[in-house]
Symmetry: none
Subunit: 229 residues, 4 copies
């Protein structure tokens, strides 16, 4: 009867009310956006494509997000910055020793971010920061700074408890961050280009890093390290 029975509308009629759809829209759009941003980059992802992937029209996208940049910010909030408070809680209520806490942090990041599409966002930001300074600033404030603060807390905990040697935590943060970010880059930039026969095991990669990190942080260094540089 309807001259243009679109699939989406049929689906809508089938599954229930428009209202339900409406509530689901932002989430569907965010999912589509995350996938496409990670896959093709921010600039190369067209708004219309995101909309199509979410099963709506171009206009609808802008009904929920006032611009492509806002959409990106929402994606970041949804997938990263929104989780910091949860992580902070976990950190503060952790009862083991600091080495275990540190291990737990890294593995938890891997499970919840690193191994998921969400880690593509970090890669994205590195790639596109130069062309979208506003997004870069947003990311700095919303992700980098809180994230660094979290890591700093873990290190400080270890130092305060005498579990880690004394170190400049400001820069010590990067002892964790660099390996994680490198892994994110690898996943999304190089992995797709490497023949699948070459094995690279992220878990082993992370293990190697954590082990050496913790050995390095241990209170009694094995021997006086000669420094002549």
């Amino acid at each position: 009867m309807c001259p243009l029975p679109e699939l989406r509308q049929l689906a809508a009629q089938a599954c229930g009310k428009r209202a339900r759809r409406k509530d689901a829209r932002p989430g569907e759009l965010l999912d589509a956006a995350l996938a496409l941003f990670v896959e093709k980059g921010f600039a190369a992802t067209r708004a219309e494509e995101v909309a199509k992937r979410a099963g709506v029209s171009k206009g609808t996208l802008f009904l929920y997000f006032s611009s492509k940049e806002e959409l990106f910010k929402a994606v970041v909030r949804e997938n990263i910055s929104g989780r910091f408070s949860e992580w902070n809680t976990e950190l503060e209520t952790f009862e083991g020793n600091s080495a275990d806490l540190l291990r737990s942090c890294v593995m938890s990041w891997w499970e919840r971010v690193g191994s998921t599409k969400a880690s593509g966002i970090s890669k994205l930001m590195m790639s596109e920061a130069g062309n979208f300074p506003e997004l870069a600033a947003f990311y700095q404030e919303e992700v980098v700074q809180p994230g660094n603060a979290l890591i700093r807390k873990v290190l400080q905990r270890g130092v305060d408890a005498g579990e880690f040697r004394n170190l400049n935590v400001e820069y010590g943060v990067y002892l964790l961050l660099a390996p994680m970010m490198f892994l994110a880059m690898w996943q999304h930039a190089m992995k797709p280009c490497v023949s699948p026969t070459e094995t690279f095991d992220p878990a082993l990669y992370l293990q190697t890093h954590i082990d050496n990190l913790l050995m390095g942080l241990a209170v009694r260094p094995a021997a006086p390290l000669p420094r002549e540089l």
Copy 2:
């Protein structure tokens, strides 16, 4: 015959031969392109800008490179190879202990690559790998693998000499690589977006990493590390 003899051409005729200029064209274009790609990214660099920087017209650029993508490929190819054999020699003739060699490697990388435009190429590759899979493979083979081999050699030297603890050198490579790559990304992606008041000292960053790395690699770990994860 030409109604508008441009200054550039006059200059060219004055200072030397046109023929020489002609031969130099592709190189000048590649230099200009490298500088701009690193500075602004691939997408944000306009072909006309590259041409202008090289002192030629837009049309001429396309005379030598059939497209912007081909130009990018040529830039990467041009700037990647050639240094590894030199480094390999340095490595093999190094006479100090392995810790010092490792330090020397990292600082040498920083001086010759990390702190120069050249590190922009790594950033470019990470950013654009998705759009140039063929090039990513080339980079993988031509840069990543030889580079990794070099690092592996340093680690193996330390292990063999009993200076470093025994470890999986395959993955140990990333203990050095990740911090360096993260620094390259940082330099070219985020640094321009961070308020210049925030201090980030690359030397201190690298120092922190090397120190911890070497402490971690030391043969007698400080204390038995409990592992419960």
Copy 3:
């Protein structure tokens, strides 16, 4: 039944009957549209804004007016007619001399039309006549011609009474009309764009016009005006 009973509806139910509201809808919409069209122009006024100002939803607007253009037509029709007969009566019962009548006419126009939103309609018609030829014709017939007739009558009264010099009243009409229309345009087109420090006093503007007009119309011109053009 409605899960989200809006304030407006509650208010409507509280303060009176819904039936009354229903009948008032078109009028409220026309009022809102007049205000916005005058304030922002036809193109820059969004249908949704009109609806919101009238306290209804976008859909409702299109329930009463099949398109934005039809709304515009209705606004013009609603706000134009009806005043001429009153003015005609005032004119015919005026007891002073014709100069005073003329002054009175202009100042009365200023008070009742020129200084109010109503003068915005003239501006709108000028702006949009090209896009609404049908409406322009309507305006011509319903407003311009009766208005001109009124002015003509005033002039003719002065000429007949020997108070004004003899002149072609057909074109003399514009001696009054042009200054008034220019003022209307000014009010609605340029005034908002001029820095408020620049003073422009409409009363003084009109005074200057009327004074000169009446001096020009006076029966004994001061001196033989040489004409050589």
Copy 4:
């Protein structure tokens, strides 16, 4: 031989060089823009249409004018503000009496602006000023103020020479301006909508205005004008 021999190119080949075309481009674009802006308004005129009318592609328009607004400004400069200095010279070298100068000014405006498409610009500005404040400001500065200054000069000359009665020239300017602007509005807004049988003679309209204006400005007002308002 050429697979897509476009008319324009054929014409180009026929009439001479590309270079000649290039010099002519801006002028052709300005002509096309003036015609379309006057005919359809600024907002309703699409850049592509202007280009097509000038026989070039969309891109070419933006090669010569960096935006649609800049195009408009150029049209204004070309057709109005560019002429003020010429008018000023004419005014200063005029040797007749001030009444004749004033007549001459008005008739000259009519011949060179009022009766041509250029007068459409005034209409345009009135219509669109609200939606394009930047253009309105430009027009104020570039056209309204210099134009007013010119008229003021004429009036002041008459007053200084004792030919005109003393009056507030600031507002006296509008005694000339209003009739001219009204005529411009009429031409472009209402004329197309009035049945061509109705006669309206712009020359007679202007004559009527100038005559009355000059009578009003004459030094000896005919009779004491009673003012009771």
